[in-house]
């Protein structure tokens, strides 16, 4: 790893990484400023509304952290939405039996089991994770439907609702605390541990990574487990926030998560990414939903505007990689 070329690549990568972070921040500030001016009399800047954006993006932010790991390792996880639903329902059913701690364990176990299966199938059978997790999406959402025969399950445990959804620590909504914890831990692991470097090496150049002694298969399995467990965490937060779980939870989240991650500067082809960028990407998505809504656009207009801005934002943050 000390050849002049690889050092050059490393320098270049750091440079690119910093630049893409900067671009994401700029995009964030730009969109924020635009809404702040355009919606100055329509409630965009009120503390309540900004709090809304923070809370609404919490689940996507957490899943985007997981997705950053998976994408950086050169894989993808399409099953996250279904894990959200199954984990939320499992938690709600266990909670009904009055077992909050077992509910947490069970929901996380759902994530771990799905992630591990995804990982082992991908690495052992050499099936692309795109196809493995696509299949898993079907299996897990089917299980979520069967579990309660399509019936929603209310969550009545108030402690659970507080910890995983509607609680506040002082003035800070608990969902923001969860986001912060997951993003900080994710960032530290991603940027400052050997594991994080191995993830990037696996996704950047798998052959080179293997020759330098990195257990690339184990790394891939680990990232898929992280992603599914992040989705399970999001499922618990949904159950807490909505005080109930149903099989449709998370259905629409996959595209938002991938968009947020890509806007944040994570390459869809591995080797490059940013956890903080993913958070900013998620906030951009949330801000767009909120701002376009406050503007009074119809659903169709919102969808078009969102599409345009996503392309622009991704063009900004990802094109740098090829520069």
């Amino acid at each position: 790893m000390t050849t002049p070329t690889s050092r050059l690549t490393a320098v270049r990568r750091t440079f690119d990484g910093r630049l893409s972070d900067y671009v994401v921040y700029l995009g964030f500030i730009l969109i924020f400023a635009f809404f702040a001016i355009a919606l100055h009399d329509r409630g965009f800047l009120t503390p309540e509304n900004l709090g809304n954006i923070g809370r609404q993006t919490a689940m996507v932010s957490i899943m985007a952290v997981g997705m950053t790991f998976v994408l950086s390792a050169g894989e993808i996880d399409l099953s996250i939405g279904s894990v959200v639903a199954l984990a939320a329902l499992v938690a709600a059913v266990v909670l009904r039996a009055g077992q909050p701690i077992i509910a947490v364990v069970a929901a996380l176990a759902v994530g771990a089991a799905v992630g591990l299966t995804n990982g082992l199938l991908t690495t052992r059978l050499r099936i692309p994770s795109f196809l493995v997790t696509l299949g898993m999406l079907g299996i897990v959402s089917g299980l979520a439907r069967v579990l309660t025969d399509l019936e929603p399950v209310p969550v009545t445990n108030e402690t659970w609702a507080f910890i995983f959804g509607s609680g506040e620590l002082g003035p800070i909504p608990i969902l923001l605390v969860w986001t912060a914890v997951v993003v900080i831990v994710g960032h530290v692991v991603y940027r400052h541990t050997p594991f994080g470097r191995h993830v990037l090496a696996t996704g950047g150049n798998r052959t080179a990574a293997r020759y330098s002694g990195i257990p690339t298969d184990r790394i891939k399995v680990a990232t898929l487990v992280i992603s599914a467990m992040a989705a399970a965490t999001a499922g618990m937060l949904y159950a807490g926030r909505l005080q109930g779980a149903r099989y449709t939870l998370g259905e629409q989240d996959l595209i938002t998560v991938i968009a947020a991650t890509a806007i944040g500067g994570t390459s869809l082809f591995g080797g490059r990414g940013s956890i903080v960028g993913a958070l900013i990407g998620s906030l951009i998505m949330g801000m767009l939903n909120n701002g376009l809504l406050l503007m009074g656009l119809s659903v169709s207009e919102q969808i078009i505007a969102r599409g345009v801005i996503i392309i622009v934002a991704v063009a900004l943050s990802l094109r740098e990689a090829r520069a």
Binding site: F34, Q56, G296, A313
Partner: protein, 390 residues
């Protein structure tokens, strides 16, 4: 990388940044050109309602058929039942979607078919995709059913989708939606439906009760072409405007994805802090609205929607934001469809358009409504919550 290259790259990046930033602002500005023109914060939502709707109009079938109240549909005689049982008939149930309501309709049909000795050979759900429903019909036809009960996803595409069944002489019966170009007694036997006009009006009356017949409300409607929800939304709005003039719809916003109502409701209460109530197009979509109200600490804002839902009923039982829902009777609808289908096999002419009466559910009648609506008891935690008074 040489310093020269680096500088060039920086310059290019700066230029690209500037141009893309400009494009972003332009595209945003272009989109904001018509604030409130459709949907949005203006009272005139894109699901047009208002003065043109005649609240006294009777629900009629797709070809203007008068409606037959479900109570007037005759039972089958013992002889008829015996004859049907001999036939060893088969039925397929092809639904549009899934959830509590569909479970109840399905349950009603399955129970009735069981009594009549008719075998349910296929059950499918199209997830609101017309193409998927066409496939479901084709697949079910392989099992040679004598009766198909369905909720057509798309009245236009349905014409082609159900053609294999029509051609094979299968007795077709529909719930809620009809199919354009089909005539009762020819392509299909009957439509059994909730009275969606009355449901809209009942929801408006519930809202009026919830907020003391005056004040500002928000209106969250289904922004897609779907017969049932469009009619309910339209009649709710018209009934508010015509029957309850002291109630003002000050915020109006459509949605297509159930999961989006939370954002919509949060924005609504931020922009209109005086809201006393929020109407939302169905119960699963109400869950997001309630979550938004809870987070904003707005226990005072009442929510009205449609259809039974365990989670919302729990909120209602716990004296939360959920005030009430208007509902039809899916279990009964399923039963009647099965009975009419069986009758048609004996050559009996079914009434072309059957309606079941509207019911309303508030905290005082939850248990009773569960029994009538879905033929089940409410979940234990709902019953438990009802024991403490508000």
């Amino acid at each position: 990388m040489s310093p020269r290259l680096e500088r060039v790259e920086e310059k290019m990046t700066a230029r690209r940044l500037a141009s893309v930033a400009l494009a972003a602002v332009l595209s945003l500005a272009a989109c904001s050109g018509t604030p409130g023109a459709s949907g949005g914060a203006s009272p005139a939502g894109s699901s047009s309602g208002g003065a043109s709707v005649d609240l006294n109009a009777k629900t009629v079938g797709p070809n203007g058929e008068a409606s037959t109240p479900v109570a007037d549909v005759p039972e089958l005689t013992a002889d008829e039942i015996a004859k049907i049982k001999e036939g060893k008939h088969k039925a397929a149930l092809l639904w549009a979607g899934s959830g509590t309501w569909y479970n109840a309709a399905n349950g009603g049909a399955v129970d009735e078919f069981k009594k009549l000795g008719i075998d349910v050979v296929a059950t499918a759900e199209a997830n609101f995709d017309p193409a998927r429903q066409a496939t479901d019909v084709e697949t079910a036809m392989a099992l040679k059913p004598d009766i198909i009960i369905s909720l057509p996803v798309d009245p236009v595409a349905g014409k082609e989708a159900f053609k294999p069944a029509v051609d094979a002489g299968v007795k077709l019966l529909f719930i809620d939606n009809g199919i354009d170009g089909y005539t009762a007694g020819k392509e299909y036997q009957s439509i059994v439906t909730g009275d969606h006009f009355s449901m809209g009006i009942a929801a408006a009356d519930l809202m009026s009760k919830a907020i003391g017949d005056s004040g500002e409300i928000g209106y969250i409607f289904h922004d897609a072409t779907f017969y049932v929800t469009n009619n309910r939304d339209r009649y709710f709005k018209a009934a508010i405007e015509q029957k309850h003039p002291n109630i003002k719809i000050v915020a109006s916003q459509g949605f297509t994805e159930e999961g989006k109502t939370q954002e919509i409701a949060a924005a609504m209460i931020a922009q209109h802090p005086n809201l006393k109530g929020i109407y939302v197009a169905w119960s699963a979509a109400a869950q997001g609205v309630i979550a938004a109200l809870r987070e904003a600490g707005r226990k005072d804002v009442k929510v009205v929607a449609y259809d039974l839902d365990a989670t919302n009923d729990l909120d209602m039982a716990k004296c939360g934001n959920m005030y009430g829902v208007a509902l039809d009777q899916p279990y009964l609808e399923g039963q009647v469809l099965a009975r009419l289908g069986a009758g048609a096999l004996l050559g009996k002419t079914a009434p072309p358009f059957v309606t079941v009466p509207v019911m309303t559910e508030t905290r005082d009648n939850i248990a009773q409504v569960w029994k009538t609506d879905v033929n089940a008891d409410p979940p234990a935690d709902v019953t438990e919550a009802l024991k403490t008074s508000c």
